[in-house]
């Protein structure tokens, strides 16, 4: 990875990093990526991916309302709140970054 890629990934992950971190992460992450390259030694043609170790899927329940968190409970740890909402800086009129 080069530093531009690191800064781009930080942006995607919504992580503010310092210049020192950018430099450090570039070398550390590059080393890790180099290490994982060895996976290319493995022939995986016709091998299905395993995202999940158990053969469990489509675990549904009846679409019936059950007890959940109250509004008060959900807002209990809010850094900023108003009228039963979490308050944040304006979201509209943002340039997509």
């Amino acid at each position: 990875m080069d530093e531009a890629a690191v800064r781009n990934v930080a942006r995607l992950a919504r992580l503010k990093i310092t210049d020192a971190e950018a430099a450090l992460f570039t070398s550390q992450l590059s080393k890790v990526l180099e290490y994982v390259e060895q996976l290319n030694e493995v022939d995986t043609r016709d091998v299905p991916p395993t995202a999940h170790p158990l053969p469990v899927s489509n675990v549904f329940r009846e679409d019936v309302v059950r007890p959940s968190l109250t509004t008060e409970q959900a807002l209990h740890n809010a850094p900023d709140r108003r009228d039963g909402f979490f308050r944040v800086p304006k979201v509209l009129d943002q340039e997509s970054s």
């Binding site: 890629a5 890790v32 995986t44 170790p53 469990v56 850094p79």
Partner: protein, 473 residues
């Protein structure tokens, strides 16, 4: 307590006394809950005085890793980004422990968001090893393992994503079990790698492991990955003898990089079991060596998704003067997350990003299939697989913290069990020439805990490593 020699209040008091005496030395705990614990203890004593039957863990003081939500105290995950977060619900395992009468006395230290192998990545300082306070307790469940090793509590809960129960258990000379994936509900466990995480018990004795596992295991509707299969009575078949048992040994676990004293202790353990009538069979796990590479793509990818919720909006730390909503996210996360967490979130984001997804994440998922198949094939021929837990004994604080990759390689023997979803346990099997504990790893097939615990129990009946305690301070 059943014999009347001790009251629950006495037992809890002794735990807290020991906790306070050792806290500044080992830093095992992040919070403790005296009032609540004493109140629960008194209720149990009252019930006992009335002659009521007590629940299986009544009055037993327990410590819980601080990545499991409790409505009492804070839940920090060893991070600044959760601020003073107080959960409004208890994790499933907490509910189960408490209905069995156990008393949670506090939350233990961990690597931030369970990311690490030493507990040096905690935002609240490392946890030190009760056998040698210049060394790490291991991680990420270092606090829980140190608390048990130091005799503060007889049992604790940890979580294991790549070895985070087994490695600190080995470093601290205690018993640590990672149950099969899906065996214990993850409801209320703060997610790191959702297809890898499991909660498990840490004790000094396999019988206690079986007891605690029986309390926490079982289906939970609130965790859709929890398996709809009732947990068996893990205590019932503990006394199954070793004779006729097939133990698999694979060269991949005994190669380069393994400390000689660790290798010798593990081989001696295998010889002992063979002497008791177990059959030792050579097996081959050809893809095991790709475990670390696989894991550091899959776990980090899952983590990048799971940790997206920590954004300064709903709870926890929020940056003080955000310019706009994007800055709120970026600065809260940049200021709140520690270095290792940032590294892994970025690695995972990269592995999932457009143009790299196939080469990294998808490739790793395919190699994971091959790792799992290796184990499936092996378990057709053997009942358990024996190996070391870690390539070394506990290393010194700071020794590996500047080289992330060197730290990652500590997990080389434990990590494949998480990728395959199988069960695995670490039991003490000796000490090195510095007096540091060495762990024996036994692995069993998915939902093979009964057999696995029986083997581990038999090993403990013929050895006394697990009865040794660190020098009393």
């Amino acid at each position: 307590m059943r014999s009347g020699d001790d009251s629950a209040e006495e037992v809890v008091r002794r735990s807290f006394d020991r906790l306070e005496a050792l806290q500044s030395r080992y830093n095992a705990f992040l919070h403790r809950d005296r009032d609540r614990a004493f109140s629960l203890a008194r209720k149990i004593d009252q019930r006992r005085a009335k002659g009521e039957t007590l629940a299986p863990l009544a009055g037993v003081p327990i410590a819980v890793k601080d990545n499991m939500c409790t409505t009492f105290g804070a839940t920090t995950c060893g991070s600044r980004i959760l601020g003073s977060f107080q959960s409004r619900y208890n994790a499933h395992v907490i509910e189960r422990l408490e209905s069995a009468g156990a008393i949670v006395i506090g939350k233990t230290n961990l690597d931030e968001f369970a990311m690490g192998s030493s507990t040096e990545n905690s935002a609240f300082g490392p946890t030190l090893n009760p056998w040698d306070a210049t060394r790490v307790a291991g991680g990420s469940s270092g606090g829980s393992c140190a608390a048990v090793a130091a005799g503060i509590v007889p049992a604790a809960l940890g979580s294991d994503t790549g070895g985070s129960i087994r490695l600190p258990a080995a470093f601290c000379g205690v018993v640590g079990l990672k149950p099969s994936y899906g065996r214990v509900s993850r409801y209320g466990l703060v997610a790191f790698g959702s297809s890898l995480d499991q909660i498990g018990p840490i004790t000094t004795d396999v019988r206690d492991t079986a007891l605690v596992l029986g309390v926490i295991a079982g289906h939970d509707q609130r965790d859709s990955t929890s398996v709809d299969q009732p947990a068996p009575d893990y205590l019932a078949r503990l006394d199954r003898p070793l004779k006729g048992l097939r133990i698999g040994i694979s060269d991949e676990y005994f190669g380069e990089g393994l400390d000689r004293e660790v290798r010798d202790a593990v081989r001696a353990a295998i010889d002992l079991m063979s002497g008791q009538g177990a059959e030792v069979i050579s097996i081959h796990l050809p893809h095991m060596k790709y475990g670390i590479a696989c894991y550091y793509l899959i776990a980090t990818a899952e983590a990048s998704s799971n940790l997206a919720r920590f954004d300064g909006v709903h709870y926890g730390y929020r940056t003080s003067r955000p310019k706009d909503i994007i800055d709120l996210y970026e600065s809260s996360r940049g200021e709140g997350f520690g270095e290792e967490v940032k590294r892994r979130v970025m690695l995972g984001t990269y592995a999932l990003s457009s143009g790299y997804y196939d080469a990294y994440y998808l490739k790793a998922l395919k190699v994971r299939t091959l790792i799992k198949r290796d184990f499936d094939r092996a378990f057709e021929r053997v009942d358990v697989i024996a190996s070391p837990v870690a390539p070394t004994t506990a290393f010194r604080v700071g020794e590996k913290s500047s080289d992330p990759l060197a730290m990652y390689l500590s997990d080389i023997y434990t990590i494949s069990a998480n990728l395959a979803g199988i069960c695995a346990i670490s039991v003490p099997c000796g000490f090195d020439s510095q007096g540091l504990p060495i762990g024996l790893q036994l692995m069993g097939p998915v939902f093979g805990e009964e057999n696995l615990l029986a083997v581990a129990h038999q090993y403990q009946l013929h050895t006394d490593w697990h009865t040794r305690t660190p020098p009393r301070v």
